[in-house]
């Protein structure tokens, strides 16, 4: 008999007033018992609407059935037929818009906690499973992958299993992409990311860090070196700025800079780790996506007394995962919705002293039906802050596009692909993830990597 509780089994979490001072993971994960209890909420629907909401089609009811039966390794095998990084997806997927958003239990009450169970299963596997030897028959062809984020890792993992020799070229000194430099430790522990990457390395994927494709070597040169295909998963790492006066004052960061200093360079351990990061007492984070929530919660943890989220639209339009908005509020982040920055002001030494903000109201719905914010005349005021972090989005880095003749891109920089195969306009070159879609999600990037791997295999096997 199914568990008919309207609520998900609660996930244990660190207390908000404790966790907003440390970098330990916020959500602590289910126990065996909790996972099994939650699994009993699934109705094992015949038409599986939840699966349709998952960009990589994880066989959700099938894995939940195993969880309910206490067969966690079995559940892991089911999930990993479709998803190579379940410990990560369970933690960072916007489940409310994807799998859980389609769950029938969500019509009345809360949907089944699919993400939480996925996370539990992956963590259980990491803690308990024995290493199994894999024997892959090599086919003698080599493929190059550009960028070691979720798109690249997934593509590499798929191709190595199909027998290709795979080399991933990564610009930074550490693999992982946004998982390493962007998403903070308290949301996605870095040793977990490292383990997931190790697991593809164990299959034989070669990761070469410190290689910037376009500068250290070009895509054409890779092809000349005998790579039969190249997958570009270079992400959308170029930060956007507001283009308002005062953006170069001291104390203004892009979210990428701020988060990179803290996560990739371990600035939270300064001076033990020598990369500095400076957070003032009052911090304004501009934007309301996941990146903004991460920046705000990180600033709080680094000792800022007041942290604001300044966003020109209303809460309804905030693109962050629901859980992140909720956690941020619990941790004491102050939300200023319908507020748009107009200028950043500085003291006589060039340091940020305040941010001028104009209040907004929602206007008539536009063609897309979205009500766009309009400034309220004369509502300008100065928000007293000493640090500003801009988190209004990123676009693809132009380096690959500038150094790869024959690669067609959108005006805004995204690489153009055939959506069925992820093939670009350049023969043998495939692309996927944020570099194609613009800043999106981990799971979409993984889905693209997987699709490309299948297409590359088809092409190279002459199927």
């Amino acid at each position: 008999m199914a568990n008919m509780s309207l609520k998900k089994v609660a996930m244990p979490e660190q207390d908000p007033n404790v966790r907003n001072k440390n970098f330990e993971e916020v959500a602590l994960g289910y126990t065996k018992e909790m996972a099994m209890e939650e699994a009993a909420r699934c109705l094992n629907c015949k038409n599986k609407p939840c699966v349709g909401g998952c960009p990589v089609n994880v066989p959700i009811p099938a894995f939940i059935e195993k969880v309910a039966a206490g067969d966690f390794e079995g559940a892991y095998e089911v999930i990993t037929t479709e998803n190579a990084l379940p410990a990560i997806c369970g933690r960072v997927c916007p489940q409310e818009n994807q799998c859980e958003g389609k769950c029938v239990r969500g019509i009345k009450g809360e949907p089944v906690g699919i993400g939480r169970m996925e996370r539990f299963v992956a963590d259980w596997h990491m803690a308990n499973a024995k290493e199994t030897e894999v024997n892959i028959e090599k086919n003698g062809m080599k493929v190059a992958v550009v960028g070691c984020g979720p798109a690249g890792i997934t593509c590499a993992g798929e191709l190595i299993k199909k027998g290709y020799d795979v080399t991933v070229f990564e610009a930074l000194h550490k693999p992982g992409g946004v998982l390493s430099y962007g998403i903070p430790e308290f949301r996605l522990p870095k040793d977990l990311v490292a383990k997931e990457i190790e697991s593809v390395q164990k299959l034989g994927v070669d990761i070469e860090t410190n290689v910037i494709v376009g500068r250290s070597i070009t895509i054409d040169e890779l092809m000349e070196d005998g790579y039969k295909a190249v997958f570009v998963g270079s992400g959308a790492g170029l930060p956007r700025f507001l283009n308002i006066p005062g953006e170069n004052h001291l104390g203004v960061y892009s979210a990428n800079e701020f988060l990179t200093r803290v996560n990739l360079m371990k600035g939270y351990k300064f001076p033990e780790c020598p990369t500095p990061v400076k957070v003032g007492k009052k911090v304004a984070v501009v934007g309301a996506g996941n990146v903004a929530m991460d920046a705000a919660r990180t600033a709080k943890r680094l000792g800022a007394e007041e942290v604001y989220i300044v966003y020109r639209r209303s809460e309804e339009e905030a693109p962050a995962r629901l859980e992140e908005l909720h956690h941020a509020k619990e941790e004491g982040i102050i939300f200023k919705f319908l507020n748009n920055p107009a200028a950043i002001k500085a003291d006589e030494n060039g340091w940020v002293s305040s941010m001028e903000v104009i209040k907004q109201e929602l206007g008539e719905p536009d063609a897309s039906g979205r009500r766009s914010p309009q400034p309220i005349e004369g509502s300008n005021y100065d928000l007293d802050v000493d640090t500003v972090i801009i988190a209004i989005g990123q676009s693809p880095n132009p380096l690959i596009r500038h150094t790869t003749p024959g690669l067609d891109t959108q005006k805004w920089g995204g690489i153009i692909v055939n959506e069925e195969t992820m093939e670009t306009s350049k023969d043998g070159v495939y692309a996927g993830g944020d570099t194609v879609t613009g800043a999106a999600t981990v799971i979409l990037a993984m889905g693209a990597g997987k699709k490309a791997a299948a297409a590359i295999d088809q092409k190279l096997q002459g199927k």
Partner: protein
């Protein structure tokens, strides 16, 4: 990891290293730079490519010991390894044929200037150089410049070598004496480049300068290296590091360079340096 195949002391504060780095050595051009990380958990620090050997697959860097990371690097010996070494980064310097170019170097700025002037000389452009330093001891690479420069002028603060005074004094004297330069390339401390541009603007001589804002990734990902060029925001790591000196907002650059001064100090103190 990357092997230090040669190490040499140029003066009490400046050292040279040749590092085995095939990817960088194969493709780098004058004007480009690398980012080095000395050890695990280390800072990412940009340094200009002073020279390279495509056959030996090595890259030469010349650095001044100014703080924690450069000091850590300086503790490494020939035969040791550094953790990370990535590049080539930035745009190659835009060098073109003309009738005469003069390079102006302040302190360790002589290192990035050297490959640019050498390349111009190879292209057949007559080149002169002014090298400045605190005192004779701080004037570096003089002999190397002498190999291909028509004139090597020296300026020292204390007059222990060459002219007593600033490189800008020497530059203005040459211009006033009627030497015609099509272009000036100035590399050194921001204040020096700012003062060079003040003069060259007056005489309307196009001037390239090399900016060295604080960087992390060097790939255009963090925006920390942004500089104001003619009112437009540019990322020095991908759009530069060389820019038209007439358009650079030097005061803003100087201010931004000091963003972490307190922390940099704390880092050295905390580590007992």
């Amino acid at each position: 990891v990357y092997k230090i195949v040669k190490k040499q002391t140029l003066n009490q504060a400046v050292e040279l290293m040749e590092i085995h780095a095939p990817y960088v050595a194969r493709k780098c051009e004058p004007g480009q730079f690398i980012i080095i990380r000395v050890d695990e958990d280390g800072e990412r620090v940009p340094l200009t490519i002073a020279d390279y050997d495509r056959e030996k697959e090595t890259v030469t860097i010349i650095y001044q010991v100014v703080g924690y990371t450069t000091e850590l690097l300086s503790k490494k010996a020939e035969g040791d390894y550094v953790q990370d070494f990535v590049g080539p980064l930035g745009q190659p310097a835009p060098l073109h044929k003309c009738d005469r170019v003069i390079g102006v170097a302040g302190g360790v700025g002589a290192a990035p200037l050297y490959p640019q002037l050498r390349k111009l000389a190879k292209m057949g452009v007559p080149v002169d150089v002014i090298i400045g330093g605190k005192s004779a001891e701080f004037v570096i690479l003089k002999e190397l410049f002498e190999e291909f420069c028509d004139n090597v002028y020296i300026a020292t603060d204390d007059g222990s070598l060459g002219t007593k005074g600033f490189v800008t004094t020497v530059l203005e004297d040459q211009i006033k004496a009627g030497v015609k330069y099509d272009e000036v390339i100035a590399i050194g401390p921001l204040i020096m480049m700012k003062n060079v541009v003040k003069i060259t603007k007056e005489y309307d001589i196009p001037t390239m300068v090399s900016l060295n804002p604080i960087m992390i990734d060097g790939t255009g990902m963090c925006g920390g290296c942004r500089v104001n060029i003619g009112g437009e925001t540019k990322f020095a790591c991908v759009d530069g590091p060389d820019f038209d000196g007439f358009k650079v907002n030097f005061d803003e650059c100087m201010q931004r360079q000091g963003m972490f001064r307190e922390e940099e100090h704390e880092c050295r103190i905390g580590r007992g340096m």
